[in-house]
Amino acid sequence: MSNTAMKKKVLLMGKSGSGKTSMRSIIFANYIARDTRRLGATIDVEHSHVRFLGNLVLNLWDCGGQDTFMENYFTSQRDNIFRNVEVLIYVFDVESRELEKDMHYYQSCLEAILQNSPDAKVFCLVHKMDLVQEDQRDLIFKEREEDLKRLSRPLACTCFRTSIWDETLYKAWSSIVYQLIPNVQQLETNLRNFAQIIEADEVLLFERATFLVISHYQCKEQRDAHRFEKISNIIKQFKLSCSKLAASFQSMEVRNSNFAAFIDVFTSNTYVMVIMSDPSIPSAATLINIRNARKHFEKLERVDGPKHSLHMRMR
């Protein structure tokens, strides 16, 4: 019962040096100051107040570092760390030559999860795949995936291969977010209806903190397959600039003679981006449509609610 008062967590764990801090910085647009990295293992004792999917808090832990201080702190605070976890994301460095040790630490994390948060979803990221030769990537990933799936029983884990130097990182995190949205199929159907009603070329639904694309609808084939990541990067850079002025970003309209694009807050967890290629439709019309849709989608979210209130009703 007291769980509902505490925020649910997303744990981002992995060996020291596996790339978690870089990953978090890229996905959540956090600035990495050089000094904090030089301190060695990430000592993320405080909660990082990133609102992720509305009510989730991201915690970053180094699992299995050589630092004895970290080891002791970790084992003594274990229950505290692993309680109330919604998602565990474990990062493996594909380059690491200590596979046995990595698996061992992963298993101990899983044990702690089983004890404290048995309903948590587990995701494994095999990271730094750009360091593997291209023709070997599929093979190596398949091997790791099989091992991890086997080790994770009875929990089910979903594996992704990632690298910060290609689209795999963005796609992996988009898939993770997609699986965490409670009623995502319904959202998608409603999104499609919305797009067709307002005669938009394309409508995208982004997660609020990370601008990961949760769902999208397009009425015709688009040229650029990487456009989601590009938009995400552009908006995150804009957010970084805004935060330097202690301002926050709420909405944006970009228009020229060929198209109009609207980015606006949608629901408590999401942003929407609407692309209209008919320039004769005035902005006001589209904005009113978005506003009305917002009310409708918020109702959707409230009715089916986030997971913990679902638990409450079932009890």
Binding site: I26, A29, R34, E95, R97, D130, I164, D224, I234, N258
Partner: protein, 551 residues
Amino acid sequence: MEEEGRPLLSSQHAADSPQASAGSVDARAKRPFYVEPRNIVDHDPQERISAEAAILNSRLHYYSRLTGSSDPLLSPPNHVVPQPEEIYIYSPLGIAFKIPEGDQTSKNSSLISIFAIWNTMMGTSILSIPWGIKQAGFTLGVVILVLTGLLTLYCCYIVLKSPRTIKSVDTTDWEFPDVCRHYFGKFGQWSSLLFSLVSLLGAMVVYWVLMSNFLFNTGQFIYNQAHNINVSDSQFGNNGSDQVICPYPVIHPEGDDCGSGGGDAGNDISFGRYWSKTNTVPLYLIVLLLPLLSFRSASFFARFTFLGTISVVYLIVLVTIKAVRLGFHLEFHWFDPTHFYVPEFRALFPQLTGVLTLAFFIHNCIITLMKNNKHQENNVRDLSVAYLLVGLTYLYVGVLIFGSFPSPPLVKDCIQPNFLDNFPSNDVLVFVARMCLLFQMVTVYPMLGYLVRVQVMGQFFGNHYPSFFHVLVLNIFIVGLGVLMAKFYPNIGSIIRFSGAICGLALVFVFPALVHMIPLKREGRLTWLSAVLHSFLIVIGVANVVAQFLM
């Protein structure tokens, strides 16, 4: 970054050394960064850049906002950035051109590679070759020179192809000590470093002795010319215009080093006190060279490598002129010693092998030298040609000096470990040679000191220049060693043969033989004959060192 293990694909991981950002050599930071030419007005179906490049550009823009500008954490590694062939530079006027191919690593033609190897191998050991031939006997000396050349060539060939025997790691920027580390672990790394240091320190000591010698003779010459002193009568030599002298006319039956003591200048006592080959001149050099050694970088001195080539070419010309003027004095007495000549086969031949091991030594840097060869498939041929040229040069100088040494008045045994010592200090041609060599050595000495510093400081402190004090202590040690040798034991022949045999033991004979045998054994392809022959190589290396002490 932690050294957890070897990468699956060797990437130039973010330059960890702090020096990388300071120097201008970090090419990645300077790589051209094109601005995506977006045309949002026209529906131009033809994209001017590939989709991957466009998204990489977007990522780079974003990642560069996330950390400090000098932070290499989110900087693209080499295998991610497009190849130079795929990068276009757009000018504001609308033209685009490609980066000229291969401007980062210039490739050399075979001729340049051969010349670079010849130039690097030609050292001061050329001055000791006549003495070495004399110690071994003429015929035996020539035979040994040819055989040692072939043997060291073969070992060099093994060293050159050794990185390619390692298939599990990418070895493109490995040198021979890295290969030793791979096969023999820390022991291999440390011992190859140690033996490499032996050769470097030996060379530096020889340089100090020679520099004292040349400076002394130069000063002597200038003094004699200024005061119009004729020294030809006071020294024991042949008569005539081309005088060759025997500086130490005391005859030892074994004919070994007569390098102790002596060297004081001619008539004027007070000048002789201030300008003494062993007592004062080595100390004067400290004033000049110790500051040069403290330079942080040796790139300034690298500009003067042409002096070395000029000196060697001049020596060859000098030797030819002297031989023409003196004529040949060769008599073949096979085994019995005579007064004026030496037997053709002598028991002191290990001294020659010791000298030649250092004379043909390039094994610690041959991989780097050959890396920029344009046609890598010709590496073996080019290496062989280079060794042939080096061998011919040594042979030419050695045979001519030995042959033209005027034996009836003088004994062949008088040939000095530094053959220029056999010419009086008033000989103009030789004076020029000494000056050239002096200049050349003054510029090479700091470079050798830099190499020693880099290797010692790098291994012990991880930093090439930990502090001025550390470097000063090291320099004082090196200079002190040179001064002591110049004062008490200025026989460069012995210094060369000892350091040559010792460093050759590891880097020429033992490690290459083992590095050749071990991968073959692992693959099961090592034949008995090959194993026996290569083990014999190791025996030769050990015998070489032992013989230096016994003979």
